[in-house]
Structures are given as C-alpha cells and as structure tokens.
Amino acid sequence: MTVEAVFRREYGRCVATLIRFLGDIDAAEEAVQDAFTVAIARWPADGQPPNPGAWIVTTARNRAIDRLRRESIRDERQAQAHHLYGSAAQAAPDHPSAPEEDIVPDDRLRLIFTCCHPALNQHAQVALTLRLLGGLETPEIARAFLVPEATMAQRIVRAKRKIKTTRLPYRVPAEAELPGRLAPVLTVVYLIFNEGYAATSDSFMRLDLCAEGIRLARVLAELMPDEPEVQGLLALLLLLHARRAARLSADGSLVRLAEQDRRLWDAGLTAEGQAIVRACVQRDRPGPYQVQAAINAVHSVATSFDDTDWHAILTLYDQLYALTPTPVVALNRAVALAEVRGPAAGLAAVDDLRSSGLDSYYLFHATRADLLRRLRRPADAAAAYAAARDLTANPVEQAFLDARRAALGRPDPAGE
C-alpha cells in the first residue's frame, strides 16, 4: 500500500485518536501530518510497518510531545489544554509510549458526532467531516462544493474555533440522545454522497465524493452495527452507486433509469446493498433511509424498467411518505403511481403538489413534462421541459432536457 493509500484509509482514525490525546483539533492534525511526513521519508527505505495506522498514531503522539516540550509550554496553558476535554487528555502525557491499543474505534465515532454537532451549521458539519474524517485538503473540499477556497478555509477555521471556545464536548452521545444526534450525522454523509451523485456543476457525477460518502457510511455501519438507519444509509448509497456506469452514455449524456443498460450495474455493490436491505427487513425497525434503500433494492432485482415491481415501489413510497411527509417524497410517489395506474393518475398527483413549494424544483417540471409527453400533450410537455431546464445548473441535466424536448415531435423511443 502506498503512503497515500494509508493516508486515505487511516487519517480520520489517527486524527480522532490524537484529538482525544491532545484535546485540540489543530494540534492533532498537525501531529498526524508530521507523522505522515516522516512516513514518506522512511517507509520507502525501511519498509512499511505491519500496522501502519498504529505506527502513525505512535509517531504523531511522540512528535506532539516533543513539540510541547520544545515549546516549553507554560504550566497554566497545559492545565488549560487538559481541562478542555477532561480526563482523557490529562492521563495521556504520562504514558507517551503506550502502544497500539490507543486506536479504539470509539475515537472516530466521537469525532463524527463532534463534526456533526447540531450547534454547528450544516455547511460546517459537511466541511469538518470531510476535512477531519476524510483527510481531504481544504482546496479539495472547496472545489467539490464550488465555493472559493478562502470561504471554505474560513468555514473550517470558524467551526474549529467554535468547538474550542464553546467547549463542545468530544464524546459519543448517550443512548437517549442518539436518535436526535444521529440524524445530522446521516444527513452529512448522505449530502457528501449526493453532492457527488447529483453534482450541480460541470462534471455530472463527482465519483470521489461518492466514494468518500460510501467510505464514511461504511465506517458508521461498522461502528454502529445495531443502528438500522445507519445500515439503511449504507445500503442506499451502495445501490445508487452500483448504477454509476449506466447513468452516463458514451457521449456523456444522462441516461434515465428507464433506459439504463442494467448489465452495467455493479453486481458486487448491488448484492451487498440487497443483503443489507434483507437484514433491515428482518430487523423490522424501519426508517427513511431503510425504505429508500428498499425501493432501490426493488429496482435492482428488475431485469428492465417495465419488469419492475411498481406495486412494491408504490407501497414503499407510501411507507416513506408516512415517515417523512415531504413534497419531494410525494413527487417520487407520483412517478411510481404513474407506472401502476397510468400517466393521467401520475399527472394528477404531480399537479396536486404545485402549491407545496415544488414549483422551483426542476424535477417537478421534468416529471410533469415526461407525463405530459406520455399523455400526448407535446405543447404542454415542451413548456414543462423548458421550465425544468431553467431550474437546473447542471449542463448534463440541461442537455438531457433539451434532447427530450427536441424529441417531442418524433416517435417515442420507449415505444409509448
């Protein structure tokens, strides 16, 4: 494994452990980066240690202690650093050579819950999670979210300072708080994946963000095996990601689910997602992510769009709507309804949603356009495609909508 690969895999775990040890995020990041610098210098000649992550933690900790000694930190400042995060930080400096058991998985869990603390705004939560758990550099995160680098840097600095000045605790929430505290964690991971999947800019999918979202979901699923929604989130992301190769055609245009070549779906990811969904169904503690995963699992077993069990999907959307009654869920339900009871029923359900704030959502208009096309109302369909196009900034989506609109006069390729 290259040092870079170790970095990607171990950075979050190492920083999480060093934060507990040092009681300070910046100092932890600095120490871990120091340790990787040493690794780049030594590993090629000395060979990689058998447990690279533990080597990094030990080296980082020793470096941090050296630094503290060198800077001959005043007693009171040391005392202050200790009180920040309580007894864990206090005990550590007396045991500088404590071995590898320092890597306890709880550290990453602590870090995730700290990054996604509800006292931090959602932008800050996403940025901190990518920075500290994903080990992404600030410019990378800025590029991924299309904000200027200085803005992203400030976002991260402010969030870290808020954690420090407000004494935001570095801990895993108690069982009783978990439902409320887990929700923003799952949202952040979903947002990271979704930013890659439905990218709002030049490249249609930014697979690196998708991969990072899945990596984080795997970490969560491993650390919280008894939380069904964590498993549901992982299954959902796996099943969506499995379709990535089929979503874009050779010329870079968007391929809808109906027309995707299902042989291109990743069988390994699909099987893994399906297995998790089955386990969730058996556990029978449903939640929104599990139901969304189940919907995608139903798609994943269908050999074609027409062959899909739309009754099952409609039932699942009813269940999802009961859990999260949002207009977007209602819109997706209307799509399933159109497959079960025909485009007129679907259109009626979509039109009922106009007053619910979806008027500015491009998929609302794109969905209407498609149903109008199927109802052979080309003029209305063209207007709806145009409305949808005006509401998306993604060039691949725009090209898709333009192509659908241009094809209105021609015979339908799907044969409807």
């Binding site: 202050q80 600095v157 004494r167 935001l168 605790p169 801990r171």
Partner: protein
C-alpha cells in the same frame, strides 16, 4: 467548569399577556432553584424597560458620544440573561432548553472567556486576518 451566558431576546412590539407573565415568573423561579440546587447558578438579570431604555456610549476623538436607543437596530432585543456554570457546551445547551421553555423566549448561548490572554489575542487577530 466554564461559565456560559444564556442571553434572552425578545420582540418588544409583541405584548406579553398577563397570564403568560405569571407563567414565566413561576417557571423562571423554578429554574433558578434547580440551577441553585445543582450548584450551577451564578447570576441572572432581567432588563428593565425595552430598547428605548438603552443608551450607547462611544469614545469619539477625545470626547464621549452618547446616542439614545439600542446598539443594533434589530427586531429582537436583549431582554435579560443568565450566567451559569456548565462542564461543556452540551450541558449548557441542556440548561438553555429549560431556560427557553421557562422564559418562553429564544436564547443565545455563549461561553464566557476563561482562557489565557495571549491565546485570545492570537485567536482574535486570526479572525481579523
């Protein structure tokens, strides 16, 4: 243990019915007792009068400038505050939930400065840069 400010904000254009005032008084007294029993109470104060009771003092050249009215022109103004002791932000937020329920007002939670002076100077200059 850190001290936290729980600052209450209120829109003074919206009158508070008498019945609610009575409820708030009862709730606030109860919370004061609870904080006291837990050893977390430091100080509290309710401001007398609305934003019209405020005077802002500034130094201007060698002189002092007084202006009538609150420092910021906003809809909601500082109405009172609690100072409490808490181990960390999570504990302060738990007390703030009780306080917002008792006061029936939104509450801003802020830590009071306790660190080393040079750390604060470094942080403040970093913020400006």
């Amino acid at each position: 243990m850190t001290q936290y400010l729980l600052a209450l904000y209120r829109d003074y254009d919206v009158p508070i019915p008498e019945e609610r005032t009575r409820q708030v008084w009862a709730g606030v007294n109860e919370l004061g007792d609870k904080l006291g029993d837990a050893g977390k109470f430091v100080f509290k104060g309710g401001l007398d009068g609305g934003p019209e009771s405020a005077t802002v003092v500034r130094q201007s050249g060698g002189d002092f400038l007084l202006t009538d009215g609150p420092y910021t022109e906003t809809k909601e103004h500082l109405a009172g505050f609690w100072i409490i002791n808490a181990a960390d932000l999570d504990e302060a937020l738990e007390w703030a939930k009780l306080a917002t329920a008792a006061e029936q007002l939104a509450i801003e939670v802020r830590p009071l400065f306790t660190g080393a002076l040079d750390d604060a100077i470094r942080d403040l200059s970093a913020e400006a840069g």
